[in-house]
């Protein structure tokens, strides 16, 4: 039996709202062996003094390219004989592409994600309209196969048109999606007929692109859409309504305009950690002057521009602040409406993850709801609740250890356990602790 590790006397946040102010957690063989106020520490356990530490369940990034190195094949360009009829590959249509074949455990994104407290993720291949099949991964291990977890493997769909060939526009992608889906549906029927009795039937056509849709049509594999505005999200929803596949909605910038539709469908919801930049004029302004701008906002302004350009400008600025706040308050409004959601860093540098999440919190999202999005709700959305999302005996040993409340600006992630593997030693007092990490930057 391998060595156990015990974190003793730490503040243990088993799940949002379920806190042991001073307790002990014991892990062994990649599993949480025990957790509680009073826990017998096994004789063979290595002990970490948790006096000033807080322990959380490992964070989960619900859509990311983590562990998938960039490649020239991601954005196919170049000459084709007929741009109206490119190969699937050239058009960015690769639903059969399996991210597990493209993982690299040594890619520096893995460590970088882990340093932020992420222990698991839904990893997506890189590409355009249909980049391929995602996979649940653990952010640990020496080789790709160490990372892979069994479970849901949604096919990613994005409104990223083919470059210079069909389909290049959102409407073209909508039409192409329907074409692929409906022809796959037809082929499935023909294949079933052939499998039952091939006598007298021509061999059904086969290609891996259409075949990749079979399990989507059967309802076993969801489509995960990544959308970056309300209209894209509506398009993904209408494809799902029309064709009947299971949809997971990720990204959701501007999703505040589509809340009713998300709620009525109850589909898995994954919110981006991307937020609008502070506009240049506001970045330079102090809070008091922003307050003044806002206080002067009048939605019925009628100013002759040639007479008072300043007044008009101030009003436009105020309206922009309002607009930006719509984006920043979205997670809070989702939480208030009872829509559970996870977070995604897809398309983002993971460096901005904490800073942007703190903006969501400053705009009304509770720390508990933010933590839920990182842990228990993410686990539920990805079908991982039985192994992840909370610190309970029997679950996988995915832990984030911080030197204070994770949501305090000055706190740091000191240790991350993934599947029981310890990363980022907290003992960095000496030299040579290059991976000591502060997320304040």
């Amino acid at each position: 039996m391998s060595e156990a590790t015990a974190i003793r006397g730490a503040r243990i946040v088993q799940a949002p709202g379920r806190v042991i102010e001073s307790g002990t957690i014991v892990i062994r063989n990649g599993v949480i062996e025990s957790v509680g106020r009073r826990v017998d520490i096994p004789y063979d356990a290595r002990i970490i003094d948790g006096d000033s530490l807080t322990v959380y369940a490992g964070f989960i990034d619900a859509l990311t390219n983590v562990g998938v190195p960039e490649s020239d094949d991601d954005n196919p360009t170049g000459s084709v004989p007929d741009r109206s009829n490119p190969t699937f590959e050239r058009a960015g249509i690769a639903p059969q592409k399996d991210v597990r074949m493209h993982l690299d455990a040594s890619d520096k994104s893995v460590a970088s994600h882990r340093q932020r407290g992420f222990t698991a993720a839904l990893a997506a291949p890189r590409g355009r309209m249909l980049p391929g099949q995602t996979s649940l991964v653990l952010l640990t291990g020496d080789k790709a196969s160490d990372m892979v977890l069994p479970g849901t493997r949604p096919v990613l769909f994005e409104f990223e048109g083919a470059q210079g060939v069909y389909p290049g526009t959102p409407m073209g992608m909508m039409a192409q999606f329907r074409q692929l889906y409906r022809e796959a549906d037809r082929r499935m029927g023909v294949q079933a007929m052939y499998d039952a009795n091939p006598s007298g039937l021509s061999r059904p056509p086969y290609d891996e692109v259409h075949a990749a849709f079979f399990s989507v049509i059967e309802g076993d594999t969801p489509i995960i859409s990544f959308t970056s505005d309300a209209l894209e999200l509506r398009r993904a929803l209408s494809l799902s309504d029309e064709l009947g596949f299971n949809l997971m909605a990720a990204g959701l910038n501007q999703g505040f305009d589509v809340m009713d539709e998300l709620m009525s469908r109850g589909i898995p919801t994954i919110v981006t950690l991307d937020i609008p930049d502070r506009p240049d004029w506001a970045a330079k302004a102090d809070q008091d002057s922003l307050d003044q701008v806002l206080a002067s906002y009048n939605d019925d302004t009628r100013t002759a521009t040639f007479r008072d350009i300043e007044a008009e400008k101030r009003n436009l600025e105020a309206k922009q602040l309002v607009a930006r706040t719509e984006f920043l308050t979205m997670p809070a409004r989702f939480a208030e409406a009872g829509i559970p959601f996870a977070f995604t860093t897809y398309g983002l540098s993971v460096n901005v993850m904490r800073r942007n999440m703190m903006e969501y919190i400053a705009n009304g999202l509770s720390e508990d709801d933010a933590l839920s999005a990182l842990t228990v709700d993410a686990a539920a959305i990805l079908g991982l609740s039985n192994v992840m999302g909370s610190l309970d005996a029997g679950k996988m040993a995915n832990l984030v250890v911080t030197d204070g409340n994770y949501f305090d600006k000055d706190s740091k992630v000191t240790i991350v356990f993934v599947d029981g593997n310890q990363h980022l030693t907290g003992d960095c007092s000496g030299s040579g602790c290059s991976d000591k990490f502060s997320w304040g930057n």
């Binding site: 360009t77 000459s79 084709v80 004989p81 741009r83 109206s84 060939v165 069909y166 389909p167 526009t169 959102p170 409407m171 073209g172 909508m174 039409a175 329907r178 074409q179 409906r182 022809e183 549906d185 037809r186 029927g189 023909v190 007929m193 009795n197 007298g200 039937l201 021509s202 309300a230 209209l231 509506r234 398009r235 209408s238 589509v258 609008p276 502070r278 506009p279 240049d280 004029w281 809070q287 806002l294 206080a295 939605d299 302004t301 100013t303 008009e312 400008k313 009003n315 436009l316 600025e317 309206k319 922009q320 309002v322 607009a323 930006r324 706040t325 719509e326 308050t329 400053a362 705009n363």
Partner: protein, 470 residues
């Protein structure tokens, strides 16, 4: 905490913004009512209940709670219908293929686009949102009402309007497909007007065979449960629907020869519902169009912006109408659509059309061309409460649009027209630079999306120089 307090204030503002117009019964009092189809009625009231015109008459008694609009001295006309528009769309040209019947503007309606409000400010209540002219057979169009205020594209849909599709002849498709050799692909058919006809005939022939193959499959299925369905083809599904008469064709065209060419192709496939868009030389073949039952949707007095439209006349509309061709005047522009009433009035300067004939070019005639004449295009009991109120006769150069109603909901009121009515605001960009600003590019009409598309190919200069608009 300061930010939290600020958020409270902001949330209050958001709620104000989210309030949208709610249908209310409204009576417009004592106006000069230009019904278009039933003459002009002086000192007349129009009552709209539940979004429908329910009564027209003098001194109407109205239910309690009906909103009163005093239109004494003002003119009331049916909401204007723009039969050719590219406002409120996220993309316009799927310019990668000469035939893209499978794409649909329905998928890319953008209800946030400020052009909807601007059009309403010109009395326009319905727009026909068209695919661009890059392809011989472009995408399906979408007929929308200007229900400004909703963020849901489905709310704008003109429910029950027939499906329509964009075709395009001449220089645009031949330039985009036939003369391009860059961007990693060679030139493809069509490079000439002959090629355009061949692309049309090929598409129709494939569509016909596709339809026959599915009909044969359906028939075989009755006796053979192991019948194998033909390969699914979204594009040919739409071609088959055109042949079945379920999709109205609206074709970008200029020259008389290509106009006649298309009627011949359509005749071969039994398609009789056709509106020629632009059609600057349609006057040359007006009797032929009338004989075919074809319609035309034209500019009032605009041509010579490229070689194939070198020759035209401002009498085009009048000649077509006098020859019995149902003709509308369209904008094809997010700017010109704000003064379509002026465009209609030009038919009186050039061709002496009667008031009702001139007004019909922007009301009942486009309604007929879009197959929505039972719902809109005139002021009649039972029709939709789509109304424009003008100070001054709308065919006068002094006309000023004052109020616009869609389904009885006031979507524009000149007396309550704040500076900034945007539904969507860029949260991070520089102030004063936002999507929807009218720029010089707005005068290039449906060229914009072609440019966007072609930027990927790197031969943008070529395209701009040669223009791809209209």
């Amino acid at each position: 905490m300061k930010l939290v307090r600020l958020t409270g204030l902001l949330m209050a503002l958001l709620l104000v913004n989210a309030t949208s117009a709610i249908a209310q019964d409204v009576v417009i009092r004592n106006a000069t009512v230009l019904t278009v189809t039933g003459g002009t009625l002086e000192n007349t009231d129009v009552l709209i209940t539940g979004g429908i015109i329910s009564e027209i008459g003098k001194g109407l008694r109205t239910p309690r709670g009906t909103e009163e609009v005093d239109a004494t001295g003002k003119f009331v006309m049916p909401g204007i219908i723009d039969a050719h528009s590219h406002i409120a769309l996220s993309s316009v040209n799927e310019g990668s293929s000469p035939v893209t019947a499978e794409v649909s503007m329905e998928d890319v309606v953008n209800p946030y686009q400020i052009g909807i409000y601007r059009a309403s400010a010109g009395g326009v209540t319905t727009s026909h949102l068209m695919h661009g002219s890059a392809n011989v057979i472009g995408g399906q169009n979408e007929t929308v009402k200007h229900r400004w205020g909703s963020s849901d594209p489905n709310d704008l849909r003109f429910e029950g309007a027939p499906r329509t599709i964009k075709f395009a002849l001449g220089e645009n498709p031949t330039r985009v497909h036939g003369r391009r050799g860059t961007g990693g692909t060679g030139a493809i058919v069509p490079a000439t007007r002959m090629g355009v006809e061949q692309v049309l005939r090929n598409a129709f022939e494939h569509g016909k065979r596709y339809m026959e193959a599915w009909d044969a499959y359906d028939a075989e299925l009755a006796s053979n449960p192991r019948a194998v369905p033909p390969v699914w083809n979204e594009r040919m599904e739409v071609m088959a629907d055109i042949i079945r008469g379920e999709v109205l064709v609206h074709c970008h065209s200029y020259r008389a020869d290509e106009i006649v060419m298309l009627t011949r192709v359509l005749k071969d496939y039994g398609v009789d519902k056709i509106t020629f868009q632009h059609a600057n030389e349609a006057f040359k073949v007006a009797p032929e169009l009338a004989a075919y039952g074809a319609h035309a949707s034209v500019f009032s007095d605009w041509w010579s912006y490229k070689f194939e439209v070198y020759y035209s006349t401002a009498y085009n509309t009048a000649i077509l109408i006098r020859n019995g061709v149902i003709t509308s005047i369209n904008s094809d522009s997010g700017e010109l659509n704000r003064h379509l009433y002026h465009e209609a009035a030009k038919t009186q300067r050039y061709g002496n059309l009667e008031d009702d004939e001139a007004l019909a070019t922007i009301t009942i005639n486009p309604a007929i061309q879009l197959g929505i004449q039972d719902r809109v295009g005139s002021i009649e009991i039972g029709k939709d409460g789509d109304i424009a109120i003008f100070e001054g006769h709308p065919l006068s150069v002094y006309a000023v649009p004052e109020m616009t109603f869609v389904d009885g909901v006031k979507v524009f009121d000149r007396a309550a027209d704040p500076d900034d009515v945007r539904l969507e605001v860029d949260p991070e960009g520089a102030i004063g630079q936002y999507e929807g600003q009218i720029t010089s590019r707005d005068h290039f009409h449906d060229q914009n999306e072609v440019i966007d598309f072609l930027e990927a190919f790197g031969d943008l200069e070529d395209v701009i120089t040669e223009t791809t608009h209209n």
